[in-house]
């Protein structure tokens, strides 16, 4: 079996990816809301998001609400596919008895 995707195979980035994957397709989440959900520091979240963005797993939309800038995040199609492949691989490693997602 291939090696696990190193972009996702780190606890923090897996948490971010899994959270984004759980948002309905076609929805985006604002950075502060995601940060609040994950309980991560803004700096830590940004660092890991950048790695996910560099791999084109996460799409970032910067916009303005009134005068304050807001960043919205979503999993790209590529990211969603990578996440599914990754969880399939994990389940296979564990004997293929994992629950369906």
């Amino acid at each position: 079996m291939d090696e696990l995707d190193p972009v996702i195979h780190a606890a923090a980035r897996l948490r971010i990816t899994a959270a984004l994957a759980a948002i309905d397709d076609g929805d985006q989440i604002a950075f502060p809301r995601l940060q609040e959900m994950l309980g991560m520091t803004a700096g830590n979240l940004s660092t890991h998001l950048r790695k996910l963005e560099d791999a084109e797993y996460v799409a970032v939309t910067k916009t303005h609400q009134g005068r304050s800038p807001v960043t919205y995040l979503e999993l790209s199609r590529r990211g969603r596919r990578a996440f599914e492949a990754y969880t399939d691989q994990l389940r296979a490693l564990l004997g293929g008895t994992g629950e369906s997602s």
Binding site: R33, T41, L94
Partner: protein
């Protein structure tokens, strides 16, 4: 809903989070995040049930008690019962709107559209049902018939929107409540006024409160 970022058992920033854990732990992370994301959307559901359950149970019970023809052991003057009923309904609408907007904060896209349309539907159908009632009163509908019309038409509005909710969010709870409330709205008028108010209070109000308890239990287990 109060956001509680630290409520679930995530591994937080307290380890070297750039490192992978073993496969089972990584899979647990995936399930954890999916569950806490689901909680975001489902944690507010019981609030709607409780708010509307109390409004209907207490509100319609008071209306029933305000009728001299009712078998109520205690009589409450209409000048007290009607304003309290109205206040409960308005409070229900305001609380539902605020909770709905809060739970959607920070999310935009398809589900925001769904949530907004769903939210507006209550107002649109609520006002439409009231307008039809007023038109029928103007056309000569007597008060005892109006007393049959209004509770039932609002039961249908609620049932229709709970059916929509059941479709949108795949919720069996909402489907069951919609069916009970639609049934109550259809059958209650046969009791005549004011006993239809008592039926509304106990059956529809009761079903909503039971729905709240069921939804709370679901959320705890999730």
């Amino acid at each position: 809903m109060q956001s509680e970022p630290g409520s679930s058992s995530h591994p937080r920033d307290d380890h070297d989070d750039d490192q992978p854990l073993d496969a089972a732990a990584m899979l647990a992370i995936v399930d954890d995040e999916r569950r806490s994301m689901e909680k975001l959307t489902t944690s507010t559901v019981p609030v709607y049930y409780y708010v509307w359950g109390v409004a209907w149970l207490v509100g319609y019970l008071l209306l029933w008690m305000s009728w001299t023809e009712s078998a109520s052991p205690v009589h409450i003057p209409g000048v007290i019962a009607v304003p309290i009923f109205a206040a409960l309904i308005v409070a229900g609408a305001v609380i539902s709107a605020v909770v709905g907007i809060r739970s959607n904060r920070g999310i935009r896209g398809n589900s925001q559209f769904v949530g907004t349309v769903y939210g507006f539907s209550w107002t649109i159908l609520g006002v439409a049902a009231a307008a039809l009632g007023v038109a029928m009163i103007n056309a000569g509908m007597p008060p005892e018939v109006a007393a049959l019309y209004f509770p039932s038409v609002y039961a249908f509005v609620l049932a229709a929107l709970y059916l929509a909710g059941a479709m949108l969010w795949g919720s069996i709870d909402q489907l069951v409540i919609a069916l009970i409330v639609a049934f109550t709205g259809s059958v209650a008028p046969f009791f005549g006024a004011p006993d239809n108010y008592l039926a509304m209070s106990l059956i529809a109000g009761g079903a909503l409160l039971v729905g709240g308890v069921v939804a709370t239990v679901h959320n705890r287990r999730a």
